[in-house]
């Protein structure tokens, strides 16, 4: 029998103890790994969501709220930007496209985004294909035609040609509640379904912003209501020269030269700040994960140390049969290594599986595609746990090394 076989057999002989230790190690590794995978995946997913948009112009207020609302389709929109600003930007020769965005209505809790067809022409880099691509049907060509994001279409079970009625605000109409306003008399028709972009944009319902303006032309809006005649909640721009025109327009708006009632933000920067915030939470979770790894190491130590104390007589027999101290030491390290290795293996499986499951929940809720890869930290975490496991086994191995055959061979 090889020493490795002996070590494996020793683990099998105390199966309950071994399995419990492996589970504790696996849970600790799984926790640490899923924190890393998810935080990096969410950050990548959030960054990816903002990739095609270089600059967002919106009402005064929190820059982060503007980006979260416009890019991640979460939370409430800020106040509208002055329509005159939209018109002024359209005259800017440094911009190839000025795309309005209107928010304020929903279709069964999915935000309806009023925009123009140029919206679908944004791309990550000039030579990349368009970020938004039609999977079925076509883009809208006139008011009250709607194009649905892939995830929204899946969740709503929408088919091409289907009609739906928008609801004002962010909440859907309650069962039995009837709407008797312009929303109910102007239903939308689904003319297209987009391909997935793996971003929150997949949760949106896209319509011609003219539809918004028609519906809300007669609606008396409360102050701050983003809807209303010629209301524009945000504006996206496409520069002729990148990044010069981006910085120029941002400076013009933020310095108040074009208007005093708007702000221009670079979404990447705001999302970077957001990721920094998420990173702080991640640090706390990481700390807890490392604590769990430390506890797993203690568990390995206790389990193995207890086993060594119980098995001193067996070790003494092996010594009497000619097994050297070094062989006994290595045997115990093999046992620790096997526990740590199996714990790390199952931990990696648990980590990836739980990260994937949580990413599905995040995707369903926010359409943020959590991109789970193999981060640089992963081999480091797995290697570190193996090392910690081996270190935890050192003392039991030394204890085993020091077992004196003559002392433990006599009958009890």
């Amino acid at each position: 029998m090889s020493l490795l076989q002996v070590a494996f057999r020793n683990l099998l002989n105390r199966a309950v103890q071994s399995v419990l230790t492996i589970i504790v190690v696996a849970m600790a590794v799984g926790l640490a790994l899923s924190v890393v995978l998810l935080s990096e995946g969410v950050q990548n997913g959030i960054n990816r969501a903002a990739e095609p948009f270089d600059l967002i112009i919106g009402g005064k207020g929190s820059a982060q709220q503007l980006v979260i609302n416009t890019v991640l389709l979460q939370g409430n929109p800020l106040q509208n930007v002055p329509f005159e600003l939209y018109q002024k930007l359209q005259q800017d020769p440094g911009l190839t496209a000025v795309v309005p965005l209107g928010y304020g209505d929903n279709f069964r809790k999915h935000k309806i985004i009023g925009t123009k067809s140029q919206f679908f022409d944004f791309r990550n880099k000039p030579n990349d294909p368009a970020y938004f691509q039609v999977a079925q049907g076509r883009l809208f060509q006139k008011p009250f035609e709607a194009v649905i994001g892939s995830e929204a279409a899946r969740q709503l079970g929408v088919q091409l040609g289907q009609s739906f009625q928008a609801e004002h605000g962010d909440e859907e109409t309650l069962p039995g509640e009837e709407i008797h306003d312009e929303h109910s008399t102007n239903p939308y028709t689904v003319v297209g379904i987009l391909k997935p972009t793996s971003s929150p944009a997949d949760l949106g319902v896209y319509v011609d912003i003219e539809s918004f303006w028609i519906i809300h032309a007669k609606v008396l809006n409360q102050p701050g209501d983003p809807t209303g005649p010629q209301a524009v909640t945000a504006i996206l721009i496409k520069p002729k020269s990148f990044p010069n025109d981006i910085y120029r327009v941002q400076q013009q708006i933020n310095s108040g030269r074009l208007t005093r009632d708007a702000q221009a933000v670079i979404p990447y920067n705001e999302l970077y700040n957001l990721n920094q915030l998420v990173g702080q939470g991640q640090q706390i979770l990481s700390f807890m994960a490392y604590l769990a790894i430390a506890m797993a190491a203690v568990t390995i130590f206790l389990s193995l140390y207890g086993a060594i104390v119980e098995r001193r007589r067996d070790l003494a027999v092996m010594r009497a049969l000619g097994a050297g101290r070094r062989r006994i030491f290595v045997l115990i390290l093999y046992e620790t290594g096997l526990v740590a290795l199996l714990g790390v293996f199952f931990g990696a499986v648990v980590g990836h599986l739980s990260a994937w499951l949580i990413s599905q929940v995040i995707r369903d809720a926010n359409a943020i595609q959590v991109i789970i890869g193999v981060p640089l930290e992963e081999p480091l975490i797995l290697g570190a746990v193996l090392l910690v496991g081996l270190v935890a086994g050192l003392l039991p191995a030394i204890t085993a090394y020091r077992v004196e055959a003559s002392r433990y061979l006599s009958p009890a």
């Binding site: 029998m1 020493l3 057999r9 020793n10 027999v317 049969l321 000619g322």
Partner: protein
Amino acid sequence: MIKLHNIEKIYTGPTHEQLKVLQIDRLDIAKGEKVALAGPSGSGKTTLLNIITGISTASQGEIWVNDEAVHTLDERARDEYRARTVGILFQTFNLLPGFTALENITLAMSFSSKIPPKDRQKRAKDLLEQLGLGGRLHHRPRQLSSGQQQRVALARALANRPALLIADEPTASVDFESARVIIELLETSSRENEATLLVASHDPAVLNAFDRVIQLNHKGQMVKPDEAGLPLKEAKLS
């Protein structure tokens, strides 16, 4: 085969007092000889066996086994010497409980390079079959009777074809008939394997079966059997 010269074993007590537990001026055992080591409890039988096997060291003196100066070996070399030269049968068998009969034997072989790895499984099987345990190869010790465990332990002791077979109180925990069977097995096995047999026992019935009896007194010194007060003659008649 075995030569001991001026062997002493001294323990230091808790209050630093020196306690001499073994003192053997000279002892020679020839190759293939079957020798019993007798004496009351605490007479140093196990200590002497441990010194001969290299499990522990003498405080002074020389031990030669098969022309190998055991007293000059460091611990690692003594481990190798033990695995290569000595087969040990313990009083309580000391089989490893988590391993099958076959594994207990192959494990012992793995501590020495004497039997090539490819031959170990076959040799272990052969030994167990010779000892009537062909149908118990994959049984664990707790699934075997006391006598069967004893035979597995004997097979393990013989696994590395030892030049010296040592048994420490092999009949202490068995009845008279089982003791007789064990002694027969030891004698037969040592003869077939051309091994020198050294058995420690304080059982007069066991001593009767040996070529020579080495008697230790309570001071760990070799004495003539009649000086130790053991009814050796009567024992031989039984």
